[in-house]
Every structure is written in C-alpha cells, then in structure tokens.
C-alpha cells in the first residue's frame, strides 16, 4: 500500500503536527477513516519492530514523537543555537551599533524587538548594561559563536556593497 509510506514520509518531514487538511490536499481521495487505519498499521509496525517513535494524534492532525523512555537521552542533547530572522536582525543591530537602548533598536528595525531581546539574552549572546535607559551589548560568547576576535572584525558598511548592493 503506497499511500501508507507517503503518509509516513509527510508526517516525518512535517514541522510539528501535520493537519488532516494538508494530508487530504496532498493525497487526493483519502478518507479520514483510511488515514486513521494507515496510522495504526504504521504504529503496529513500529511496535513490533521495536522502534523508538510513534505517530500520535494531536490537535487536528498527526505528529511523530519519540517514546517517553528515551526522553532522558534526548534532554541531554545540546541543540545548535537557532535564531529566527527577527532575532538575527536585533543581534546584528546591537553588534554594529554598540551598546544601545531598546528604543534605538526598534527605531532602526521599524518593529518591536521585545521577544527577540529575551531570546538573545537566554542564549547569552547579548547582555544588559544597567542605566536609564538600559543598554544592550554583545557578549564574549557572541564573538565565540560568530568566530570573531573582536567587534572590530565585523566588515564595515562599505564592504557590504560587495554582496548587498
């Protein structure tokens, strides 16, 4: 049964829960009952072959999860730092404009930076300099992550034109 494996591949590669609607869009003429049936066949197969994951039914769709038994190992994993585009923008502004206030960052970006600032502090890429207003600056950890010796290593704005003209 081909669509069983297509269904598996779709849920496998989906970021989070794959909605029923999405499945119905990609595999035409599949019914909800049929999907449920295929999912239980897949889960039976994972169980019988001793796999560490299952497909679970969650809010309007299906999601792949690992069994609880493996949680302690998974929690021990260090994930690489990943930042959203917005967080990267805030980080870039702070790196280039030196210690600066939230208001200055918001003005440059034209949007609010509250959640990005929190996220960057959590990753220890920036730090707060107390005062009124508080100012944000990049940490030594930032230099380490970005492979810089100092902030003066950052390309100057003229060098930007080489790529971003």
């Amino acid at each position: 049964m081909e669509s069983k494996e297509v269904l598996e591949a779709l849920i496998f590669s989906a970021d989070g829960t794959l909605a029923f609607k999405e499945i119905e869009r990609i595999i035409p003429d599949i019914s909800r009952e049929k999907i449920d049936e295929l999912i239980s066949e897949l889960n039976d197969l994972y169980l019988s072959t001793g796999r560490s994951f299952r497909i679970e039914h969650a809010s309007g769709g299906y999601i792949f999860v690992t069994l609880e038994h493996y949680a302690p190992y998974i929690r021990a994993m260090h994930s690489p730092i990943r930042l959203s585009g917005a967080a990267l923008e805030v980080l870039a502004v702070i790196a280039y404009k030196g210690p600066c206030s939230k208001q200055a960052i918001d003005t440059i970006r034209g949007v609010d930076s509250t959640s990005s600032l929190k996220n960057l502090i959590k990753h220890q890429l920036i730090n707060i300099k107390p005062g009124k207003p508080m100012k944000y600056y990049t940490t030594d950890h930032f230099l380490e992550v970005f492979g810089l010796n100092s902030l003066s290593d950052l390309p100057d704005i003229k060098q930007f034109e080489e790529v971003f003209s």
Binding site: F12, S13, A14, D15, G16, F64, P80, I81, R82, L83, S84, G85, L88, E89, L91, A92, V93, A95, Y96, I108, R109, G110, V145, F146, G147, L148, D153, L154, P155, F160, V163, F164
Partner: protein
C-alpha cells in the same frame, strides 16, 4: 547552467544560430561556441564569436547592462588576443607554456569549464530540501543554525530593504495660499473673469487644491465671486466691485 542549449550548431561554415539560450557570462558563451564549432584556440575565428557576443548583448541590453559590459570586455580581450596571434613576433613559439596569450586563455577556459562541470555534479547530487527532507523540516520559515557574520550581514540587508519600503516621501508644498491669492488678485485686475484651471496650469492635485483654497479665501473677503454652472462644470472667479481691501 543553461539546460536548453541548441545542439544544432555543427560547424564553422554553417551559420551561427542567432537564438541563443541563457548564458552565465562571456566565458560560458565562448566555451559553448568553441565546443560546438570545434575551434581550436590557435585558429580561433574571432569575428563570428564577437558577432555572437554583440547579438547576445542586443538580446539582453534592456535587461542587464552589467552583464553586457562583461561581454564587451571579453570581446576586446579576444580582439587583442587575435592581434597577438597575427602580428609577426620574429620568434615562432607563441605557444610557449604559460607565457603566450593563447595559453592564458586556454588556462582560463580549462578552470572555468572544470567549475562548470563541478556545478553540474553538485546539481546531480540528491539535495536536501529538494530530493530528500530532514525530519521536521517543512515549516514555513526554515530556521537555520547560525552561520557566522554572513547571517548578520544578511540580517542588516533585510532591515535596510524593509525600512526603505517604509519611507514615505513627503514633498514640501512650495506654493502658499497667500501667494496664489496675490496672483489671482493681479489676474482679476486684468480680466473680469478667470478660469480656476488658469490659476493651476500644471493641473497637479496640490496646485488645484491651493488654487481652490485661495479662491475660497478671496470669496470670503468679498474680493471675488465663485461661479459654477452645473454640477462638475468649470469653476470661474469673477471680480467683485468692492475689491479694495485685498492684498
């Protein structure tokens, strides 16, 4: 790389095909012409190649001036190269390793062709996000691991292009209502009746607005009367007898 190059250019004696597919640059086109026409670099026919370059530029002139420049630069290089080959040098080994211009071009083409082949090899590999997908990857925004300062520079570029779009161009209005009132007053000294459009000859919205405001102001001060015959009809200003206290 162009996937759809014609294969029917068979020999030097046949006419070159004018409909050329997309090439990534002058070296790409030169390589194509050499391989399809089985030129050797030593007896390179420069003229038909330059004709092809010019034809190609003609096709893309409106699209990409910078790329056209690269083709012209390559053309002049080829003319120079050909002249080196034609001029007597007194010594016959123009093909000496490394030194001769032909050897230089040959090296350039070899390196370029190798890179082109490597690019084809890249494209034939099963690519992540095209032919195979990692687990949990299909979100709308692919959030990637940090990749050094290139990602910082890219972020700055994103800010720049976003804020550029948000800039609202505010033009200062150089025409003051007072000035236009003066102008109308002067015109009413010469004519009994003037068309509102004559006060705003450019018919620009801002100019019309100012003219209308000035007319209203003059009417309020009993200097002129505003007359309009019918809905959407022309608006005229008529001088009033007691026009002494205007500016």
């Amino acid at each position: 790389m162009p996937q759809d190059k014609p294969d029917n250019i068979s020999g030097l004696n046949e006419e070159f095909i004018l409909h050329l597919p997309a090439f990534d640059g002058p070296l790409d086109l030169l390589l194509y012409l050499i391989e399809k026409n089985r030129f050797t670099l030593e007896n390179l026919e420069v003229c038909p190649i330059i004709d092809q370059y010019l034809e190609y530029i003609r096709q893309l002139r409106s699209l990409d001036i910078a790329l056209a420049g690269e083709f012209i630069e390559m053309s002049s290089y080829l003319i120079w190269l050909k002249s080196c080959l034609l001029l007597p040098t007194g010594n016959t080994d123009m093909e000496g390793v490394g030194e001769s211009p032909v050897e230089e071009l040959k090296q350039m083409l070899i390196v370029y062709r190798a890179m082109k082949q490597a690019a084809i090899d890249f494209n034939q590999r099963p690519l992540l996000y095209r032919d195979k997908f990692p687990r949990g990857s299909s979100g709308d925004e692919r959030i990637l691991a940090l990749t050094g300062i290139a990602s910082l520079m890219q972020a700055i570029d994103v800010i720049k292009s976003r804020t550029k779009r948000l800039v609202i161009q505010v033009k200062r209005n150089k025409v003051s209502i007072r000035e236009v009132m003066g102008k109308i007053f002067k015109m009413l000294g010469e004519h009994e009746k003037i068309d509102l459009y004559d006060i705003a000859p450019s018919r620009q919205r801002s100019e019309l607005v100012v003219a209308f405001m000035a007319a209203l102001e003059l009417s309020k001060r009993s200097i002129a009367r505003i007359v309009q015959r019918g809905l959407f009809g022309r608006i005229y200003l008529v001088k009033r007898g007691d026009a002494d206290n205007g500016k």
